[in-house]
């Protein structure tokens, strides 16, 4: 035995077998205890509860949901709500973060200081506290529905949230919106293709530059083809609440504000660090080559600093997604909140915690797949 322990290879094998064995033994022990305890408490196991009637209402939902729908559908509503917050929140947080990061690099002393103060304040206060603060401001700080403030024509702000007009024909509107997003992407693709052609042939084609904008006709055409509906449903005060229009609930608004403002501070620091990582000589060199400031940023600074910015930025995107689970504390029905309700009703804690973990692990797996793709695509190509 002792002789084996001196042999490096055998020792390694021994340690690994022991390690693996103890991990499995530990998990098996926990599993055994859990089974015994569940049997004693008479709690069902497995995912059979998916098919049962949920029996609770959900405040807001992207798909139609009634309290006599199944748990599975309720959980689906939760995932959609989480995705809604995560997608809108991340877009806003990145935009705001980049703007504040750039503001922090500005040569305007006051802008710089304000951005600094913003970043330091927001980063050093717990997100949960900020969410509570926003929620309090949006519910206690605003008047009741009867005295709702009309901030813009037909846009009402009250302690029930923000009521805005919404198009009657939701489908054509949302399809056109999706087409619009794709045409923005398409515009940038065409633009980079044009750049590439100019680089290869040396011939500028002004016509193409103009025609690029034609991409933006696509959403208009889609909208026209789908009936060109201009009818809007306007929120009206009826009894104790608004009817018509779209209601942005205070829970959703507080969660969105809180997450965006918190994450933007981190994104701003990442942007600043990324741009500052480019040596000053590069700015000067491109200036002496006669490039304009916009061209310098677009062609010299951005492509290089993106390599530094994107990896930490992706982890912030993931952080916002994970932090959206704090919704449970202010009553927005995100995935965790709905799973929590399910857990309390069915008592199936193990399955529910497992579900939460699986869903968020999937998000982070997708994010790291993107990261790997990005690193491969934009890694410095060495000669």
């Amino acid at each position: 035995m002792l002789k084996n322990f001196r042999d490096e290879k055998k020792r390694a094998l021994l340690i690994q077998v022991l390690g693996l064995f103890s991990v499995f033994a530990f998990i098996g022990y926990l599993f055994h205890n859990t089974q015994m305890n569940l049997a004693k408490l008479n709690i069902a196991t497995g995912f059979g509860f998916f098919e049962l009637e949920a029996g609770f209402d959900i405040g807001e939902s992207l798909i139609e949901y009634w309290s006599d729908d199944t748990y599975l559908k309720a959980l689906g509503v939760g995932i959609l709500n989480t995705l809604k917050v995560a997608i809108i929140g991340n877009i806003l947080a990145v935009v705001l973060g980049v703007l504040i990061g750039l503001g922090h690099l500005s040569d305007n002393w006051m802008l710089k200081k304000i951005c600094r103060v913003y970043i330091e304040t927001v980063r050093n206060i717990p997100l949960l506290l900020q969410l509570f603060l926003w929620y309090a401001l949006l519910t206690e700080g605003l008047p009741a529905v009867k005295e709702a403030i009309e901030i813009l024509p037909s846009v009402f702000l009250s302690n029930r949230g923000l009521n805005i007009p919404s198009p009657v024909d939701i489908t054509s509107f949302s399809v056109s919106l999706i087409v619009l997003i794709f045409s923005v992407i398409g515009y940038f693709l065409l633009d980079s293709k044009r750049d590439q052609l100019v680089n290869e042939t040396g011939v500028e084609s002004p016509l193409w530059e103009k025609l690029n904008f034609l991409v933006f006709l696509l959403p208009i055409i889609t909208w026209a083809l789908m009936g060109a509906s201009t009818e809007f449903s306007v929120p009206k005060l009826q009894g104790f609440n608004f009817t018509g229009g779209y209601n942005l609930t205070p829970e959703f608004a507080a969660l969105l504000f809180g997450l965006v403002i918190y994450t933007a501070a981190f994104n701003a620091e990442i942007t600043r660090a990324g741009i500052q990582s480019i040596p000053k000589g590069q700015w000067e060199a491109s200036h002496s080559l006669g490039l304009s400031k916009v061209d310098t940023i677009k062609r010299i600074i951005l492509p290089q600093s993106l390599r530094v910015i994107v990896p930490p930025l992706t982890s912030q995107v993931l952080n916002l997604t994970k932090n959206s689970s704090l919704a449970v504390a202010i009553g927005f029905p995100d995935f965790v909140a709905i799973t929590n309700t399910t857990m309390n009703q069915t008592g199936q804690a193990v399955e529910c915690v497992f579900l939460i973990m699986i869903v968020y692990l999937t998000f982070s797996l997708l994010t790291s797949l993107f990261m790997n793709w990005f690193n491969k695509r934009f890694a410095i190509v060495e000669r």
């Binding site: 305007n108 006051m110 802008l111 206060i125 506290l129 309090a136």
Partner: protein, 356 residues
């Protein structure tokens, strides 16, 4: 040039500074004017809210009428916000415990004091803190479901950081190990924990830990939450430490091997001391993050600083003063986090200087 400017009268120097920093281009001038107006509005609003409309004495009805900052609310509720349900006559105990904790932390901040003596100091402090908080040995016993507020937040954070560190080192070493099985165990653990929100780990501690244990064995809620926090943070600590380990040049390992040191001796006396020094600034940043994250224990109904605040807002007599309460507690969190981040920046500068 600087000499010339410094000889000019103050106003002229100020004008030059203004021109250079705020009004150097037309765009900047517009931005500056806009921001000045914005800041002026903000300061004016804040001043009116706190000093002109603010109420210093009286009850809730006086505050509601004035509509300004309600100091009586804070006077009334500070005791509960800071100490939670701790028995009334015993408040000196958590106060002393906090002072000891903060004092010890303050003493430990100089890198040249990191030696054996500090370890002894910490064990003595820990003993006194738990004795003061929990009682026994001549003090009235206070069970930990009565602990709350700032002492609880500080304890959760400090114990979380201190205990997750060794666990993080072990995980980081495992992740860099040549032994495939150990490496995969560590990778799976770290990636799972980093991929899920802290809430799910806290849920696990509050609803699943009791199921994991054999019949008759039970921990209290506070300990379960503390374990969850330690398990969660150790994955992040491991990644920070791994960064330090991988920055140690390979020659150091080879040199240690040539000297005939075993793996454990190499790690203990050569690699880890250097790696830890390098990663102290990011460690402090992780610590800030975890200090803020302790507020999440509110979701599993522990009375940390944020939960005592929320509870004090539920008093029917004092409804509607959320802003006052959150600003007050926000300031407390800010003071702790901001001083930690300044500290980490200072260390980064000092360590950077020594290397040159």
């Amino acid at each position: 040039m600087t000499e010339l400017i410094s000889k000019k009268p103050f106003f002229e120097r100020f004008a030059i500074w203004l021109k250079k920093n705020l009004f150097n281009t037309p765009t900047n001038s517009v931005i500056s004017i806009f921001l000045l107006a914005f800041i002026w509005k903000g300061i004016e609003g804040l001043f009116t809210w706190i000093f002109i409309k603010g109420v210093w004495s009286g009850g809730a009805s006086v505050c509601r009428e004035a509509g300004g900052f309600c100091f009586p609310f804070l006077f009334e509720k500070t005791r509960f916000i800071i100490f939670g349900f701790y028995p009334d006559g015993q408040l000196w105990r958590p106060t002393c415990a906090m002072l000891i904790l903060i004092g010890t932390l303050f003493y430990s901040k100089e890198p040249n004091r990191w030696n054996k003596k500090l370890a002894y100091l910490w064990s003595i402090s820990t003993f006194f803190i738990f004795w003061l908080m929990g009682g026994g040995l001549g003090l009235t016993e206070v069970t930990n479901d009565k602990w709350g507020g700032l002492p609880l937040t500080l304890l959760l954070a400090t114990i979380g950081i201190v205990c997750s560190y060794p666990l993080g080192i072990v995980l980081a070493l495992m992740r860099r190990s040549k032994l495939k099985v150990l490496k995969s165990i560590s990778v799976v653990y770290i990636e799972i924990i980093r991929g899920v929100p802290l809430i799910s780990v806290l849920f696990m501690s509050s609803v699943m830990f009791p199921l994991f244990l054999p019949e008759g064995v039970n921990f209290d809620k506070l300990l379960r939450a503390q374990i969850a926090i330690i398990l969660f943070v150790s994955a992040y600590m491991a990644e920070v430490i791994r960064g330090g380990l991988s920055s140690i040049p390979k020659g150091q390992y080879e040199a240690a091997h040539t000297l005939g040191l075993s793996y454990f001796d190499t790690m203990r006396s050569i690699i880890i001391p250097q790696a830890i020094r390098i990663v102290i600034p990011p460690t402090v940043n992780t610590a800030i993050g975890m200090f803020k994250d302790t507020s999440l224990v509110l979701i599993i109904a522990l009375f940390d600083l944020l939960n005592t605040t929320k509870t004090s807002l539920r008093d029917p007599e004092w409804l509607g003063f959320s802003l006052e309460a959150y600003v007050f507690v926000g300031l407390i969190y800010f003071v702790f986090c901001f001083s930690m981040s300044k500290y980490s920046q200072r260390l980064e500068r000092e360590f950077g200087m020594k290397e040159r």
